[in-house]
Symmetry: C2
Subunit: 326 residues, 2 copies
């Protein structure tokens, strides 16, 4: 009888961003990245390979996905079948606890959980490093969601050298993020298409790749020193330089909405009042605030001038993937 | 008896932007720029040097300026006195017909008119090229406001080589701008301080300077060919790359407001509906739409979904400076 394997993986928010592929097939990034895995947002996925199936069956939050939407997942399952020798189709049941397509990186936790569940269900016993390599093939940011806490994804130059590892498990460090979840709007462009346009058309892109190298070095030091101010400043500048790339593409695009500008200004104002907080943004309008847990109340109170309480979600550092065989 | 000289100069909007000084004393820019002088916005300034004055007296829109606000103008008058041998203080009366500090470049028409009136009143007879050199010392963009139509400011490497000249007087070309004048907000940073921060801290700045060279060449060709689409596309990309620099500075800043994003989206939407229009932005929230006169109605109608009719000002190509002795 076919075994069912369930994996749970958390999303992560990059502090030094991945933005641009060097190799789209192998999903090798142009530059390394560093992230913090968050406890609040996660995906739980169960996979069963069963010989009686005549196609992969993908269920997402209780809904059967159409073949078109399931294609990216089936392609990933093909890779797992190829690596394991497993020949059966799979039943995949996914519960996603991340707002999708809002720059909260649901594909990060999604493909991390899928990699964990599918590889084990197919009979592979991968260590976490190999699991991060496998997750990378589904979605770049998924590479980092295999691990908890602060994680670095080494860009590498081939499949073997492009993987993630833990930099620090921030136990006893009062660092967190507050996600400001803004009105869902249609994205102007997907992150895959956006970063491809940037790599092809932005005259600033080579300088971005160089700067990322320096940011990685400084971020590693700041995390090792548990220096929240340095972590925040480097992350904020790095994020805005990623968004600057989008403005500099041809044609230009940007993920900011009016609410994004409001949230950025609110964080800047708080900082000028002495509150130690910084913002970062991904491929969507949402703003994530890097801060200490002790400042949660003052930050939430200030932001509630502009946003509803339920738009402000406190997220603590989260754990790495867990995999269980049922 | 002292003579009074009156000069009238129009503002200009850069299509290839000036953003960054190479020499702040001589006001030499890092890169050349190309602009269109507009008929709608102008400054008229009268200057009289009179031995009985004990200080420069500056009147701006009917108000006597405080010594602090007048300092930049007095410094410019010192330069004129130095070049002319004139020793008296001056009475300056300025009427400004440009919304100030809103990215509509009131300093461009302002220092162009002041250069024209003050130099003649002081006894100098400068040709327009020399007048553009003089205006440059007051404000970089004023260099271009000496001339009408399409104007190029050559960056140069010293005072003699940094001047403006006419590229084309667009008579019989149905090109224009519609200025979308947005709610006046406090600028996050002056253009002088903003560009200085960019030059010092943006890793993208060297690529900007290189790109500007290519944009100048393409823009000259597009203007010579009277190709509105090319002019608009080059201008739009160039403007967004200037604003990308601001996002990439440390600390990052930006001049966009919620209304700016709305206006940009409206122009992008119009274009996707087949209307040939493009946007450009300077150091402020306002958006200027590059378009043909024949499309004025369709563009104004679309923008009136978001803005009041009086916020939409049609500006045709404008003339160069006029100087009259009273």
């Amino acid at each position: 009888m076919a075994k069912t394997v369930t994996a749970k993986a958390h999303t992560n928010i990059a502090l030094v961003k991945y933005w641009g592929k060097k190799d789209a097939d192998l999903m090798l990034p142009q530059n390394g990245s560093i992230s913090l895995t968050l406890d609040h947002f996660y995906t739980q996925t169960s996979v069963t390979f069963a010989t009686q199936l005549t196609a992969d069956e993908i269920e997402f939050n209780g809904q059967r996905l159409t073949a078109q939407k399931a294609a990216r997942i089936s392609q990933f399952l093909d890779l797992v079948r190829q690596q394991s020798g497993q020949t059966a189709y799979a039943k995949v049941v996914t519960e996603n606890h991340v707002p999708t397509s809002a720059g909260l990186a649901s594909s990060a936790s999604g493909f991390a959980a899928l990699a964990g569940a599918a590889s084990r269900a197919a009979g592979l016993q991968l260590d976490l490093t190999d699991l991060s390599r496998l997750a990378r093939r589904g979605s770049g940011s998924a590479t980092r969601s295999i691990f908890g806490g602060f994680v670095e994804w080494h860009a590498g130059h081939d499949d073997a050298s492009s993987y993630a590892e833990v930099l620090q498990d921030p136990v006893d460090w009062d660092i967190q993020m507050i996600a400001v979840v803004l009105k869902a709007t249609q994205k102007p462009i997907s992150s895959t298409a956006g970063m491809a346009r940037v790599v092809q058309t932005s005259p600033y892109y080579p300088a971005w790749v160089q700067t990322a190298e320096a940011d990685l070095k400084r971020m590693r030091q700041a995390i090792a020193a548990r220096d929240l101010q340095q972590v925040g400043q480097i992350a904020e500048t790095n994020a805005m330089r990623m968004h600057a790339l989008n403005l500099s593409a041809e044609p230009a695009f940007n993920y900011f909405t009016a609410e994004t500008l409001t949230a950025i200004q609110a964080v800047t104002d708080l900082r000028s009042q002495g509150v130690n907080c910084y913002y970062t943004l991904d491929a969507g309008p949402n703003v994530k605030i890097i801060c200490a847990g002790q400042d949660t109340d003052v930050i939430k109170t200030a932001l509630q001038q502009y946003f509803e309480p339920e738009q402000l979600i406190v997220a603590k550092p989260g754990p790495g993937i867990t995999i269980t065989e049922n």
